[in-house]
């Protein structure tokens, strides 16, 4: 009886180790041997990564990921996750790269490694066109409620620059704050300007305006994430961006997806 128990415990343990062992790959060599690059994206975050009219994955980060897979000579697999699912997906080995509009912070870097920033964005305050707010000081009052995205740099910036305002944090994409603003649940919102500008076409024209002055000291960076042990992949991604910056692919991507709005016609 005792032996049977020991055996089954041993069996269960080895089964667990077997499965965790399988998930635990993801260095560059493993990707090439496997023939598959797995990239975790946040679904519904246009223009970074989203599902277009035809049901295909599209977006700036998707194009970068496609380029990476092509250079590696492997197949690209896009995995859709909610924001909260991204890190577990990366850490458990389901994904090799985390491609979301994520800002590297020192706290986050305790868990995953970030590549060099691939773009810089700026947090801004936005409000309804009819609202009277003009400057930071107008918004920084106890009776003003400000909507932010939970865990975003916008949230930290809002707490830092608008300490007197009442802050409500929402979960989900940048659309949630605009939705809450239009519904009147918040008086203003803080998010990166690019994220605000790209969702505006989905709302009634001229209903939202951005305050002229951007927040924060400098610019806020966005970067890809990999596991701590995937050092070679991390270096490879940095080299990839260096290469496409030289050959113009990078500028083409940024001009199409982030600077212009022509992609809305195609996707």
């Amino acid at each position: 009886m005792k032996l049977k128990k020991c055996l089954s415990a041993f069996f269960a343990l080895s089964l667990v180790m077997f499965f965790t062992g399988i998930g635990f790959a993801g260095t560059l060599t493993d990707i090439v041997n496997r023939g598959e690059l797995r990239v975790a994206v946040q679904s519904g975050a246009a223009p970074y990564a989203f599902v277009d009219k035809n049901g295909d994955h599209a977006g700036s980060m998707i194009d970068f990921a496609k380029g990476m897979a092509e250079e590696m000579g492997v197949k690209l697999v896009i995995l859709d996750f909610d924001w909260d699912g991204l890190i577990p997906a990366l850490l458990s080995g389901k994904a090799d790269i985390l491609a979301a509009d994520m800002t590297p912070t020192l706290k986050r870097a305790l868990k995953i490694s970030f590549t060099d920033p691939w773009i810089y964005v700026q947090p801004c305050i936005f409000t309804k066109t009819g609202a009277s707010f003009q400057t930071l000081e107008d918004v920084n009052k106890p009776e003003v409620t400000v909507g932010v995205l939970l865990g975003s740099t916008g949230e930290n910036i809002a707490k830092q620059y608008l300490p007197k305002a009442t802050i409500k944090s929402y979960k989900g994409g940048g659309r949630m704050i605009v939705q809450a603003l239009i519904a009147g649940h918040v008086d203003a919102g803080v998010n990166d300007d690019l994220a605000v500008l790209t969702v505006l076409p989905d709302f009634p024209p001229n209903s939202i305006r951005l305050l002229d002055k951007r927040l924060g000291q400098g610019k806020d960076s966005l970067a890809f994430g990999v596991r701590h042990e995937s050092v070679n992949l991390w270096q490879w991604i940095n080299l990839y961006f260096e290469t496409i910056r030289e050959n113009g692919t990078y500028d083409k991507n940024i001009d199409y997806w982030l600077k212009g709005v022509d992609w809305k016609k195609d996707h």
């Binding site: 890190i87 706290k107 305790l110 909507g147 929402y170 809450a180 009147g184 649940h185």
Partner: protein, 222 residues
Amino acid sequence: MLADFNLRVILEYLPLFLAGLRSTFFISIVSIGLAIATGILACACRISGIRLIKYPAIAYIEIIRSTPLLVQIYFLYFGLPTLGIRVPEIQTGILALMLNSGAYIAEIIRAGINSVEPGQIEAGVSSGLNYVQRMRFIILPQALGVTVPPLLGQAIVLVKDSALLSLISVAELTRAGQTLTSDRFMPSEAFFTVAFFYMCIYFCLKALADWSQRKLIFREAY
């Protein structure tokens, strides 16, 4: 993986979790109270013979039971303001939970009332008891015993459903876990703690359910 489990971080965020627990507790208690009242009212209308109140009650119960709670919450939070009605987050949440559970509770109570054999009601009629007396002395005492366990089951469901309120920026227990996750990228620590606290609430309610059932069976025997 288990070696990475960071208890120190949970302790660091413990005040946040306790504040969330308090909020979840408050929202649940208020919602359960209001839901039971709504349920009783809806059930009374549902079993009434007057069509003018019977059909609205049927419509309410069926609409609520056929749509997901998340959709109801989003409708109340984002949909109603376009009609000119704006309710703050916590009140929206309580309202959604109340309306949602109220419909289920109405059906639970109706099932309890229907479980009383028609023969007993006929016996009541022939003994000369009027409608109110039949309800008071024959149906409700028996229906109560059948109703209370599923009612507490519904209360447990409501507590867990209140997690959805984190999506409309209510700072409850699940939101505390989400905050820890987005600050420190530690989902296992965060949601293990959240789950632990929900389990605590669950076992408290379950103990209450068991206790009330013993009490009710005891009363029924006499």
